[in-house]
Amino acid sequence: MSDTPSHTYDRSSTALASDESASSDALVIDGEVIAGRLWLGSSMYRSPDCMLQALDAGQPGFVTASARRQTARQITDNGYWGCLEQWLGQSQQQGKARILPNTAGCNSASEAVLLANMTRELFETDWIKLEVIGDDYTLQPDPFELLEAARELNRQGFKVLPYCTEDLVLCQKLLDVGCPAVMPWGAPIGTGRGLQNIAGLMTLRERLQDAVIVIDAGLGKPSQAAQALELGFDAVLLNTAVAHSPDPVAMAKAFAGAVEAGRTAHIAGLMAERDSAQASTPVLDMPFWHQK
């Protein structure tokens, strides 16, 4: 595989999409159409049934799955993935959700590369959400190990979607080693704080105009997901906000609606913020010099 980014998503085409129907606004990563801009995790649900109902309601483009057990023993299924695989099987037939295995729980490049290879066999997919944690308390990614793992996995033909920080240089280098997208965090995993460094994320968006950028982690509210899409990010990935809601099914639906609203708003074009108020209805009979 070459060292140049192989992503094919062209942002200029979406800028022209204003007159077209929403269905032409496909998210394409590495030449493949991803069926949705909301991506969901598959852990922490009350039960597998509850998870599948939430996935039905959220219609995610990707469903992430952690292959690593905390037992770190071997990858065997106790029936949990069976449920998910069955759902995905039905879902994929309709061209919908795909599975995105992740390397959660890895702290080094070598661990992540090994686990990625195991998941490729288990889930029969080249897609991998690359996660290499550098700090166990904040679950902040380790940018150095991440880049090393990304380089190696791209070399091995994986489609690597790296979970990273919003550091511009890191994201650029991840794209340079062949990642078809980057996935900066909005906030630390599970915090639900939304986009904490909007200026930094916007720098990414503006400087990496052709790249697919997915906001991964830290989203707690549908409005935060809508904001990410409004600002031009291509998709969002979240888990806790849905799985921990008292009603995960309704919350998945809410996120799906928010993602759609945010994306549509981005395509429509947001107005610029202004310092002074501007009435939407001109009031001709009340000249300004009559105002107190």
Binding site: R46, R73, H244
Partner: protein, 359 residues
């Protein structure tokens, strides 16, 4: 008329309770248990045996919550009956459970409140909100360690290991049989134990994860617990520590012993407790009170909880075979109420005729 004979596969909590109830109503029961008498492996043996419908509300289905509330009401009488039948003394401890979160994790407390409100429990008299002082009054060991907590005042717990042994003894004293080392095979509706055909009028399958060959939907969910002992620290009721990553509890088990649990891993791996899990559990213990650091670790064990995809228990009647399974992490929470449900759903499951005891 010949006495009705019922074979029960699985001598864990559900099977033992059923067998005892049938035996005391005059039925002939045979419990077929896979394990050796001295090395039990039922999930109910490893469990912390809490009856905590309120604490478990956020992760419980409505049916599980209702059954749990019912069990809470049923356990005292069941234990009284068991004490009467056995001539022994067992206790249902019912002094509530205490839920606390460290200041950094107070969002977990807010989340729990949101769940309780959602289920209409915000004003329930069984739930008391506690401040720093009240926590110290209930559990002096935790004084000044937590700013806020919840006391689920009606919740209880059992000394499950003695209870399971007591149930087995009582079944035998009432004329029933408990056979150990029996691998039950239910192929083609013919029950065999260690290859020998079992002839009974009715069959009850309470094998938990052991029933997997007949229930493809059933999966084992790994749980790990630690037993510790210390005379330096005294905790008088189950304490749950709310944490964003782990669900942790400490339950007093008498004689200065405590059970610390439990991990919940989507894996049917039965191998011993991992270093990582032990570190997590023990770190949580240390944050409850550093004085636990001198406690002895008596045991680390792992087991599998039998779970169905909806995480509700299921009673399935198929001719003269009844299966009860899917109690998941809620065996002691569900079992008494499931006895009632069995009696209501299964015609021959009659546990009311207490005067007909043949023993």
């Amino acid at each position: 008329m010949a006495t009705m004979h019922i074979a029960i596969a699985g001598g864990g909590l559900m099977g033992s309770l059923i067998a005892w109830q049938l035996a005391r109503s005059g039925k002939r029961v045979t419990v077929l248990e896979k394990c050796d008498q001295h090395s039990p492996a039922a999930a109910g043996y490893t469990a912390a045996a809490m009856v905590a419908p309120y604490s478990e509300r956020p992760i419980s289905d409505n049916d599980v919550f209702r059954l749990g509330q019912r069990s809470l009401a049923l356990w005292p009488q069941l234990i009284a009956d068991l004490n009467q039948d056995s001539g022994e003394r067992h206790r249902f401890h019912q002094n509530g459970s205490l839920l606390v979160a460290h200041p950094a994790d107070r969002a977990e407390m807010e989340d729990l409140e949101r769940h309780l409100t959602r289920h209409g429990l915000e004003g329930d008299s069984a739930i008391e909100r506690l401040g720093r002082q009240r926590i110290g009054e209930l559990e002096p060991e935790l004084k000044n360690r937590f700013d806020q907590g919840l006391w689920m005042s009606t919740e209880g717990h059992l000394d499950n290991r003695p209870l399971l042994q007591m149930l087995h003894r009582t079944i035998v004293s009432l004329g029933g049989e408990v056979c150990y080392g029996q691998m039950v095979d239910t192929d083609d509706r013919v029950w065999k134990a260690n290859g020998q055909r079992i002839n009974a009028d009715f069959y009850l399958d309470t094998r938990g994860v052991g029933a997997q060959p007949d229930m493809p939907q059933l999966r084992g969910v790994r749980g790990e617990v630690l037993w510790i002992q210390t005379s330096e620290v005294r905790i008088s009721r189950p304490v749950r520590l709310l944490h964003p990553r782990y669900r942790l509890y400490l339950v007093p088990k008498g004689e200065s012993r405590y059970i610390l649990g439990a991990t919940e891993l989507e894996s049917d791996d039965r191998s011993p407790v991992t270093v990582r899990s032990a570190l997590e559990l023990l770190s949580a213990l240390y944050t409850l009170s550093p004085r636990f650091s001198e406690a002895s670790i008596l045991e680390m064990s792992s087991n599998l909880r039998p779970a169905l995809p909806h995480h509700r228990p299921e009673i399935v009647v198929d001719g003269n075979v009844v299966s009860v399974n899917g109690l998941f992490r809620h065996g002691y929470l569900l079992a008494p109420a499931l006895l009632e449900r069995l009696a209501a759903q299964v015609e021959w499951f009659d546990i009311s005729a207490q005067g007909n005891r043949s023993a």
